[in-house]
């Protein structure tokens, strides 16, 4: 029992901002709003917010790798694609009955984690430094896009699933939960919204506990000074690989939810521009803290969508400007700096 209490006490700790009522009450109100808002809203808005949520897993993964681990991966979209395509291939072959979609989800995330382990082994055990890590992961992402884009034609099929080249795959079944007395299918509506919000919460608290545990403290120590961490006896490579695998698996989860949400996936979800987006979200929110990263990602997604609706071609320019201004004036991230202001906190002692 005390073990369990100790486990949950790690939700607050030195690596995450916010503890005590001044942080948790506003956050609780926010969550309450998130839970009751579908009752007062229309299907389109609910679906749209759920769409935003699908991306947040990827942002959370990047925050863990980049913010806490100091290893910037541009490959989030590659794992996003792996997740989405795997889900599509499995469900198109085996349908949605008997809980297949759940197995497909698990298989997609597992496959993402396995690929991340293989790639990460070569990178981290080759002691690739930050900049090169970014480039190699980016190259993987671009190549995967180019590969999937040329899979047009009937010869590119896995079982029943046609890969369809540049147009991507579509027609996958929505997430379906097996239930006594009839499976519950969750198309992009309120049901899907609640499922994804709940999983998001689990991931959020999971990461808070993770970064405040021994693993997280060592990860931050490595970010601050890899040599020192190594001299203290920690295997830097193992911890960085761990963070990379978890982060990439979360990106695969994003890919699965995205595919469930829209029931399609295309190679352009792995393009150079798509690869930039998670970096933008996390950088603007504040990569050093999971709450700031997720709020920043949500905010940026909403702003970006408004921009796209009102002037599609200028949205990307605005994104670039935002990124530039953010790096030059608030390198820690806008939301994180707001937090500091709100809580009158000096920069976290490290």
């Amino acid at each position: 029992m005390s073990r369990l209490r100790e486990f949950f006490s790690r939700i607050n700790g030195p690596q995450t901002f916010g503890s005590g009522p001044r942080f948790w009450i506003p956050l609780g109100v926010l969550l309450l709003i998130a839970y009751v808002f579908p009752l007062f809203s229309d299907d389109y808005t609910i679906g749209n917010v759920a769409y935003f949520f699908t991306w947040l897993f990827m942002a959370a993964g990047l925050c863990l790798m980049w913010g806490y681990g100091g290893t910037l991966s541009f490959g989030q979209t590659a794992f996003f694609g792996i997740g989405g395509y795997t889900y599509g291939i499995v469900t198109l072959n085996f349908g949605a009955d008997n809980g297949v979609t759940i197995y497909a989800l698990v298989a997609s995330v597992l496959l993402g984690a396995i690929v991340a382990t293989l790639l990460g082994y070569f990178l981290f055990y080759g002691r690739i430094n930050g900049v090169f890590l970014g480039i190699v992961t980016l190259a993987v992402s671009i190549l995967l896009e180019r590969f999937m884009a040329q899979t047009a034609g009937p010869q590119w099929r896995i079982g029943e699933a046609r890969l369809n080249g540049f147009n991507g795959m579509n027609g996958m079944p929505a997430l379906t939960i097996p239930w006594p007395g009839g499976d519950i299918s969750l198309p992009a509506g309120a049901g899907f919204y609640y499922v994804i919000l709940s999983i998001l919460l689990i991931v959020y608290f999971g990461i808070r506990i993770l970064v405040n545990s021994r693993f997280g403290n060592i990860l931050v120590a490595i970010r601050e000074n890899p040599q020192r961490a190594e001299m203290l006896g920690y295997d830097v490579r193992r911890f960085q690989l761990g963070a990379f695998v978890i982060g990439s698996a979360l990106a695969s989860l994003s890919g699965v939810f995205y595919t469930c949400w829209g029931q399609y996936i295309t190679p352009s979800s792995m393009s150079l521009t798509s690869a930039a987006l998670p970096i933008v979200w996390v950088a603007i929110g504040g990569r050093g803290d999971i709450t700031a990263s997720l709020l920043g990602a949500l905010l940026t997604l909403a702003v970006f969508q408004t921009l796209t609706v009102n002037g599609a071609q200028y949205a990307l320019i605005m994104m670039g400007v935002l990124l530039l201004v953010n790096v030059l004036t608030a390198p820690e991230g806008l939301i994180l700096q707001l937090f500091r202001f709100r809580f009158k906190l000096s920069p976290r002692s490290q």
Binding site: F122, F132, G134, A139, L143, R146, I317, M319, V327, L328
Partner: protein, 290 residues
Amino acid sequence: MDIASAIFGFLYQIGDAAAFLVLASAGLAVVFGMMGVINMAHGEFIMFGAYGTAMAVRAGLPLPLAIAAGSLATGVIGVIIERLVICRLYGRPLDTIVATWGISLIFSQGTLILLGSSFPSAGTPLGSFTVGAYSYSWYRLILMLAAIVLLVGLWLLVNRTRFGILARATIQMPQMAEALGVKTRVVYSLTFGLGAALAGLTGGLYAPTMTMVPTMGSTFILEAFVTVVVGGADVFLGTAPAAGALGITKAIFTSWQGQLTGQIALLVAVILVIRLLPRGLSGWILKERS
């Protein structure tokens, strides 16, 4: 005769692939090797060079002069970007990547809005010649020559000129160089400008052979990054041999299974090389030598 023409064809492919890698990566390698900065807007600089060249050709300049003009203009843009953005970010390599990525988004999308989704190309000059059953482009041979001239020129610039000495001093020990009166800020600006100008030159050289679209830089970016990663920090000991080795790899796999297999082979080669030689070819060569 058949064997001779087959060998020529294969050598031509290797030369073409290696020249592409050298030209695509030269600007990136200079900026990374000398300043430790990875410039994500490298592809957009190449695109600027190509657009500048095409505009100059349309204005009536002969192609070589047009390429020089495009390259120079890109160099000037590079210096401006360094003064406005990059100079504030030294010592923060990851932030530099993020910032230059922002610049890349602004440039490519800005070009799309200002100049539209396509742009009239200059047209490949010089025609072709035949060896055996296949015909080859003269212009591609010029590109191979250009890659060699570029490497030699760069070597002379770094090792035989005053700028080269000052630049190397700045890289080796910035504080000491500054104490001895070197204006390191100017050196950094010029080095970044040089990298941009080289990217522009590449764009200009390839402009006649490519479709002009705002995203044309992304054709080069994968190969450029891969070559720099394999090469390591030194342009001559790293980039050039890396381009040679990768060029052979790419040519073999491309002629065996097509363009995409060539690119995949390139990436696999890179991942293997960095596992075995984490500091790139140049790091390995320097270690063997000492």
